[in-house]
């Protein structure tokens, strides 16, 4: 291959191409764009969780600065409809005109030269709402007497699912140990450092709508705008400039974005809306809020026999585009079995509608909850049978000789050694020394514990898998146009979007590997629907496998075009040509890519008779199997907890991971640590509680705690490498994984630390208040037992 040994190929820790602009403060985020005649938009939002709009009084003189639902022409409400059986659909209006269903729902747009003035206008509007009883609790929401959010539904339920495989009654009968638990993951937000953002204007020369949008999926946004506006898709261009973090929450098309785009097209006035932090907490998607009731059956040795689980998801008020709240429940049910051999499994669940912000995908989607459910339960089984939890884990895992292994929930685990990842993790945190330290006790009175959590993550799944999820858009492929220029430099135009993942670098590494074009002469262009072929975007841990595959394929197509030209110039046969170091080499000599490019574009008399001019190819790529390739990992946490205050400190944290072939180890490790940091936020800090009237109680960074540098310990990382058999180079996706295990690993470490008290943490985030409450509850159980004896 062309790039071997250069230091810029596959497997090399290449420094990122995208760093320079950011390090000089020259990144180009949507708020940094400058365009003449721009007006800023502020949204008037509902301050009420559930109510009927009686009147919207706009002060005299401001009417032309205020846009209400009835003022928008040729723009349709969002209607996310999935193929999931029994799915209840409801329109999500761009601007509410009748009912409001959550605090923060957009009601009016206010336009002014500056955001401050636009907010002044919003403040001057008198919004009269007749308040209705708010539905805030997901369990109460589905009771027959609950007020309905969407009239005509009958019940506040988006969808229900049931699954059963194997003989659960036999498992129940054979069980020596039965564990019953309730686990709750509370509601949180994604909190990209840059909020959502959109700038839309009409380009009169091209007669098209240009939309700059902080999104993970510009082509899907273009598709969505054509769907929701009276505009042909060829007259819409969507550009994602620099995007300041996404984590899933920018993988959605929101009412604000369609409304701004629609109005810009309607009034032919450049408009911009930049989400502020409070709006982010109010009206960007929330995530994670799920409740698991689980019963697990095991033998006296700790062998898992069966699992029976009920999953409830609190989806908030509306379904967002494209997937709404559809994926959480299905993925939770699919992923509870995790990396374990399980012969009997029953799962049922429903997704409730409540008067809260809509939920959507956030790094890990459903799997942090599923992992919490099974991994906390495995620990309880181990404790019940008196064994080390990590050993019980290893014995229950799918073994390498069983691979490929089809799980009960029809996931095809492709390869790897799951138990080995546990063993290495146990070594990294040195379980024996933790046990010794526990026996000795801490001088400061704190309690020490070690906990594990493993997962297996489906990544880069293709068409068939997405169809089973019932989603309306099937992101089963990626695309790339590869263009060798007339001077021998290379452009890669790709349909994904990179917002921190470093794909401008790693995709160039792939092309360099294939073609030997010098790394610094390769540029990757992404995020612009007018430049690249259609692609789905960056989400679901898919871009390196999918877009990397498309780049590999396009590069090889280009190589196949380059070889005959080089052969003509070097007077040899095409198969005698090798490509490396920016040149084509034949038996008798070499010709550099600049000469080949010159011939292909501007001196075509040098081309072979049957060769077409230009060197510009487009490829699409799907992995050879569409069930995905499975990255797996075990996390181990060592914590110290103060039983007097409930505060938790992470003393040690290790991640052992197998994502197959690694393209850039520096970037992979960065993704792992970044994911773990978000998982630690999930585990210990982040939560948006709601009061009984549906008011969110954390809408600033003062009440919503994000982990800062002191909260994230150094993370030990060990890699295993089992290349995937069905992807280019053996790559597996891995972007989300880091965020999956920390809540479970830390909860298990707390369980271990508090073993003598009998306290368990079964709810995230594990705040000092909840830790203390768990200790007190355990104490009162002990007292009650003693009193009874």
């Amino acid at each position: 291959m062309g790039g071997e040994g250069s230091g810029f190929g596959i497997g090399d820790a290449v420094r990122r191409k995208e760093d320079r602009r950011h390090l000089f403060g020259r990144g180009q985020f949507t708020a940094d764009l400058r365009i003449p005649r721009l007006q800023e938009v502020a949204f008037l939002r509902s301050p009420i969780a559930h109510g009927r709009i009686r009147a919207i009084h706009v002060p005299e003189g401001l009417r032309d600065r205020v846009v209400l639902a009835g003022d928008l022409r040729g723009a349709r409400s969002i209607r996310a409809v999935t193929d999931a059986p029994g799915f209840n659909a409801a329109d999500f209006p761009l601007l509410a005109s009748d009912k409001v269903l959550f605090v923060g729902q957009p009601v009016a747009m206010c336009l002014a030269p500056s955001r401050a003035e636009a907010e002044d206008i919003a403040q001057a509007i008198d919004l009269e709402i007749d308040e209705l009883p708010a539905v805030v609790d997901m369990e109460a929401a589905v009771r027959p007497d609950a007020p309905l959010l969407h009239e005509g539904w009958g019940r506040n339920v988006f969808l229900t699912r049931e699954f059963e495989a194997g003989d659960l009654e036999r498992a129940r009968a054979e069980a020596a140990v039965t564990i019953e638990r309730t686990y709750r993951l509370n509601r949180q937000a994604g909190v990209s450092m840059e909020g959502r953002a959109i700038l839309a204007h009409w380009d009169d020369r091209l007669d098209e709508l240009v939309v700059w949008n902080s999104t993970q999926m510009p082509h899907q946004v273009r598709y969505a705008l054509a769907l929701h506006l009276d505009l042909d898709e060829h007259r819409i261009r969507v550009v994602a400039p620099d995007v300041g973090g996404g984590f899933g929450l920018k993988n959605i098309v929101y009412p604000e974005e369609i409304a701004v785009a629609a109005l810009a097209a309607q009034v032919r006035q450049p408009l911009r809306w930049i989400e502020d932090r409070r709006e982010h907490f109010l009206a960007s998607i929330h995530c994670r809020e799920t409740l698991y009731n689980v019963t697990a059956f095991a033998t006296a040795e700790g062998r898992l026999l069966g699992v029976d689980v009920t999953v409830q998801v609190d989806a908030g008020a509306y379904a967002t585009w494209p997937n709404g709240p559809n994926m959480e429940l299905g993925m939770a049910i699919k992923n509870v079995p995790g990396p374990y051999r399980l012969e009997a499994y029953r799962a049922r669940g429903w997704t409730a509608a409540t008067n809260k912000a809509p939920i959507g995908p956030y790094r890990g989607v459903a799997r942090p909850g599923a992992c919490f459910c099974i991994e906390r339960t495995i620990d309880e089984i181990a404790r019940a049978v008196g064994r080390e939890p990590h050993e019980v884990r290893m014995e229950n895992m799918v073994r390498p000789d069983q691979m490929p292994y089809r799980s009960l929930t029809n996931m095809l685990y492709d390869n790897g050694d799951y138990a080995e990842s546990v063993r290495i993790a146990a070594d990294l945190v040195d379980v024996a020394s933790v046990r010794a330290r526990q026996a000795q006790g801490e001088a400061d009175g704190r309690l020490i514990g070690v906990g594990f959590a493993a997962y297996t993550e489906q990544t880069a799944h293709g068409c068939g898998e997405w169809i089973t999820r019932g989603v309306p858009i099937i992101p089963g492929y990626e695309s790339c146009t590869a263009r060798l220029m007339s001077d021998g430099s290379l452009q890669l135009l790709v349909g994904i979007q990179s917002h921190g993942q470093g794909l401008e670098t790693t995709l160039a590494q792939v092309a360099h590997h294939e073609l030997g074009v010098p790394f610094e002469r390769i540029s990757v262009r992404h995020g612009d629907s007018a430049l690249s072929p259609f692609g789905m975007g960056t989400f679901a841990s898919r871009s390196m496998v999918m877009a990397g595959g498309a780049v590999a394929r396009a590069s090889r197509m280009l190589a196949a075009r380059i070889r005959p030209i080089a052969a003509q110039l070097l007077q040899c046969t095409p198969d005698a040509i090798t490509l490396r170091d920016g040149a084509a080499h034949g038996p008798q000599g070499s010709v550099d890519f600049a000469e080949i490019g010159r011939v292909a574009y501007v001196r075509q008399e040098g081309l072979p008779r049957d060769a077409a001019p230009t060197l510009d190819v487009t490829a699409t790529y799907s992995p050879e199997i569409d069930t995905g390739v499975f990255c797996y990992s075990t996390h181990a946490a060592v914590v110290a907890v103060d039983p007097g205050t409930g505060t938790v400190e992470i003393l040690d944290y290790a991640v052992v991971e197998d994502c197959g072939t690694i393209v850039n180890p520096m970037i992979v490790d960065g993704q792992i640590v970044g994911g773990v940091a978000q998982g630690i936020g999930n585990a210990l800090y982040e939560e948006i509680p709601y009061d009984t009237s549906g008011q969110p109680l954390a809408t600033t960074l003062a009440d919503y705690l994000l982990p800062g540098a002191p909260a994230i310990p150094g993370i030990k990382i060990a890699h295993m490498c089992t290349p995937a058999e069905h992807t280019e180079y053996g790559m597996k996706g891995m972007g989300e994984g880091g965020a999956i295990s920390p809540p479970a690993a830390i909860a298990n470490a707390l369980r271990d630390a508090l073993a003598d008290t009998g306290a368990e943490l079964c709810e995230t985030p594990m705040t000092p208040r909840r830790v203390l409450a768990a200790i007190l509850a355990a104490e009162s159980r002990i007292h009650a037992r003693e009193a009874a004896e």
Binding site: E18, A31, S192, M193, A677, L701, A709
Partner: protein, 166 residues
């Protein structure tokens, strides 16, 4: 609308402006002077993305009013293109993967430079605390901490480190 005339020095240049008393310094720099390296992440003084220097001290641009900068010196990341310490930091951030999406990066760099120049941290734990007012959602801080430590070492090891001006 009430406006106030202010005179200040921004990135070494004298600037006169008419601003609303309520306008933040960060908004004035971004909208009035097109200096967009100062990012706004929360606009209530918590995340640190808008960190800039006021008379050489790091402050939050989002909760500092433009009128409060009257007669003072303001420096944003744009002032540090040629700064030797900032260039060490840039190199270290790139080598140690101290940035992913890049949004928190300008604030991180200005705070990191101040931490090194003031020589106020002696341990990794102190460095973490010194950086605790700057939130990064992507990196988990590992690369940032390594980068600052590496840049600090390089800075202290430079020729004439003991006597050279900042």
């Amino acid at each position: 609308m009430i406006r106030r005339e202010i005179a200040l020095e921004v990135n070494g240049r004298s600037v006169h402006a008419s601003v609303e008393p309520r306008q933040s310094l960060a908004d004035y720099l971004r909208d009035g002077l097109d200096l967009t390296a100062t990012h706004l992440g929360c606009e209530h003084g918590v995340c640190g993305a808008c960190t800039l220097l006021l008379d050489g001290e790091p402050v939050r641009g989002c909760i500092t009013l433009a009128v409060a900068a009257e007669g003072r010196r303001v420096d944003t990341l744009e002032a540090f293109d040629e700064d030797p310490l900032m260039n060490l930091l840039r190199q270290a951030f790139s080598e140690h993967h101290g940035l992913q999406c890049g949004f928190c990066t300008p604030g991180m760099l200005l705070m990191a430079r101040d931490i090194i120049l003031s020589d106020r941290v002696a341990s990794d734990a102190e460095l973490r605390v010194a950086l605790s007012g700057n939130i990064c959602r992507c990196t988990g801080y590992a690369g940032i901490l390594r980068a600052i430590s590496a840049a600090r070492e390089a800075w202290q090891a430079r020729p004439h480190a003991a006597t050279g001006p900042a």
